[in-house]
Point group: C2
Chain length 441, copies 2
């Protein structure tokens, strides 16, 4: 940290606090721990460094609740084919060629792209997850990381699969003890891949360990019709009912996709306080379908927004997800009033933080929370005229409006410079080398 | 025109010609009429000016087949309400306060935004259309313009409504005679607003005049369920069948939206060669529904892409429309193979040109066509790695990749400068004045 007390002035502050206050011409004062100490009209006296954003919106850093960040490497490898062909003929063979270094550079590449759209915290599941942790530590962002584990297709025993998660946890513990500040930037979660790739024994073991050690669980759930029908056929239960029958579901479960659900499933998710990670673009692109988000919100289910991995999107851009989330439910339900802009902004910020169990630390601009901030430039031509700030953010802005990004009050990305803490050019060269190696072209 | 012969080099040329050739390291040579004279590996000798885009894709300028361009002024005025409330309580009262000058500045604002996403030709319907023609002439782009006419809600006679179209045509004829080159940049079309706002007499008169004078017809068709049900109830016919019963439909009809259709409607549209203007974002945002584009393409119907007006989108961005068009049909039909990236790129370029009857002049990079070109910067971080050029354009790129835009070989927009031919800052000030005046805030 290069400052003691810093103050950031903004023309408009979209706080995303519980009363969704929008402030004009205020200062956000950041203490030497990177936390917001006050939000005030007058600049306090003891500020050592001040930055003024006179033509800007400052809002909380976006929370990307579900991704596989190193898949930047595989983005565009193949599109417009069915999921089985895509995975089996393209993605899995390419992934089999990836090494730890590739994952590290792919993760830095993805983090740079997330920063360029204002994402400051993300929830990841992949492999070589220790190398992703290294990238997160270096880039200066925040992440909940889970080593994806699965025993059915791999033939591993449940114990061996769980051991992989704990191996990753040990690496994180080393990282935390070397740099205790990383305890507030990198968090561990269990990552049982999905109900159809993990045995009942593995799911139950994960549930037990997660409760005992107080870590969250990140899982794919009911993403495709294929999964839904498989469970109905084989167990007589939906995927959601199946997890419920194992005692798996609880408020610490972060369930990605949740596209194929019955009313009863939604009631279960609401009762158990399960968090839903909504991936609108990926669900359309892979033709998985459209999650019943308005019905979830009506039941009080907490829903965050997510990009999914960049190979099934093909961007890591929260503006894209906000727009998609706002539009697709209107168009398919023939109701323009669902998913209004303010609700969608909440899903991209404070509700995303709540999904990750980090709502006390981030997701809104309030005293005591980390100063994770996105600075949006109102001088982009499409920002004139501004009739409504939420409408502007959701329906009009694209990520090119992002001028600067702060994590814990520290500048980590700037439009002209890109990521502040690492050399993106070098990362791009490495990624191009990986492409060359894995595709032989 | 400031040059005689100019040559533009590109690392990759996406031609959109009939065999969808993609060329590497070629020169596009432009003659003194602004037309492409050749596409060649070696730079010819007699070139007076050359420009090299060594890290770029050059592709045909996008064709936005349906918009109401000056509505930039009203963008974000109100969102997330039903169509009737939106129109009656917000849009119509605001439009009633707009003057000719407002329309002119709103049009320049919208044209700047279209250029920033690579749109070089658009198809517009609004009022004060003469002022829009002035903006098009000054900005250096191309447009098919129609003065929206309607007699049912206005109480005008069909003759009086038609007279408005012909009044606008007279203004265009003056413009064409003052500057004959504008005959290749501005075209006239009739703009009967919709089947439910135009009487049978007006529609028949338009049909007759259009055939006699050889102008195209631009109309909204079957946009909402309300319209569909109204026609079924009142005439026993669908809106499409109703127009067919009047002898209205033909290959010169450009029908916007076309969301609510039966199989029989699609057969009629295919048989008559009607052009469909697909507005995926607007149709979602206003909750109109999702047009049956894959079924249209299967019948050989020509479909172009469109933004609709910026108040119902809320951008004039062809990258947004390409992404939406590629995704929504996959997600709602549960088929990832429909609307592949190459098909969508064709819809945004050559098929759009065909919709407007301009396929002999523009829409692809081929000798004899105008050099309307978009230059896309491959140095954006998300462009690495590039596995497939169409996937990159449709699923990954956003309009911030646009580095330069040429119309007839003339540079009309550049990333750093914005529009070359007019002062965007001044336009933005004027638009902000309009906002202030019409909203009193």
């Amino acid at each position: 940290m290069v400052f003691d007390v810093r103050a950031i002035f903004a023309r408009i502050i979209v706080t995303c606090d519980s009363s969704m206050r929008v402030l004009r011409d205020h200062w956000i004062v950041v203490d030497d721990e990177g936390r917001i100490s006050c939000i005030c009209k007058e600049l306090p006296r003891d500020v050592e460094e001040k930055i003024e954003y006179g033509h800007h919106i400052v809002m909380p850093g976006f929370v990307n609740t579900h991704t596989h960040v190193p898949m930047t490497i595989l983005r565009g490898l193949k599109d417009d084919v069915d999921l089985k062909t895509w995975l089996e003929q393209y993605i899995f063979p390419a992934e089999a060629k990836l090494r730890g270094d590739d994952i590290y550079y792919g993760a830095l590449h993805g983090i740079a792209e997330m920063l360029s759209s204002g994402i400051t915290t993300f929830n990841d599941m992949y492999y070589f997850e220790g190398r992703i942790a290294q990238a997160v530590a270096e880039a200066g962002v925040r992440a909940v990381l889970s080593r994806g584990i699965l025993d059915i297709p791999t033939g591993l025993s449940p114990e061996a699969a769980l051991k992989k998660a704990h191996g990753f946890l040990s690496r994180l513990e080393q990282l935390w003890s070397r740099d205790p500040k990383l305890r507030d930037r990198i968090w561990f979660a269990y990552g049982p891949h999905a109900p159809y790739t993990c045995s009942r024994e593995l799911l139950q073991a994960v549930r037990e360990e997660a409760s005992r050690r107080k870590f969250r669980i990140h899982i794919h759930l009911a993403e495709t019709r294929w999964e839904f029908e498989k469970f109905k056929r084989e167990t007589g239960m939906t995927p959601t009912e199946y997890l419920e029958s194992l005692g798996f579901l609880g408020p610490d479960v972060m369930a990605a996709h949740v596209v194929w659900t019955t009313d009863r499933d939604l009631d279960i998710l609401a009762r158990r306080g399960v968090k839903v990670l909504h991936n609108p673009t990926s669900n359309l692109k892979l033709a998985s379908g459209i999650a019943r988000v308005p019905d979830m919100l009506a039941r009080g289910i907490c829903v965050g927004l997510a990009t999914d991995g960049p190979a099934s999107n093909n961007r890591l851009d929260m503006f894209r997800e906000m727009l998609m989330a706002a539009l697709i439910h209107k168009g398919t339900r023939l109701d323009p009033k669902v998913m209004d802009a303010k609700t969608v902004v909440r899903m991209a910020t404070i509700e995303g933080a709540r999904c990750l169990g980090l709502e006390d630390k981030l997701g809104s601009i309030e005293p005591g929370k980390f100063a994770d901030l996105v600075v949006l430039d109102l001088r982009r031509p499409y920002c004139t005229p501004m009739h409504d700030v939420y409408s502007l953010i959701v329906y009009t802005m694209t990520s090119d409006a992002v001028e600067a990004v702060y994590v814990g009050g520290e500048l980590v990305w700037e439009r002209e410079r890109g990521p502040v803490r690492f050399d993106l050019e070098r990362v791009l060269e490495k990624v191009e080398e990986v492409r060359h190696r894995i595709t032989q072209t």
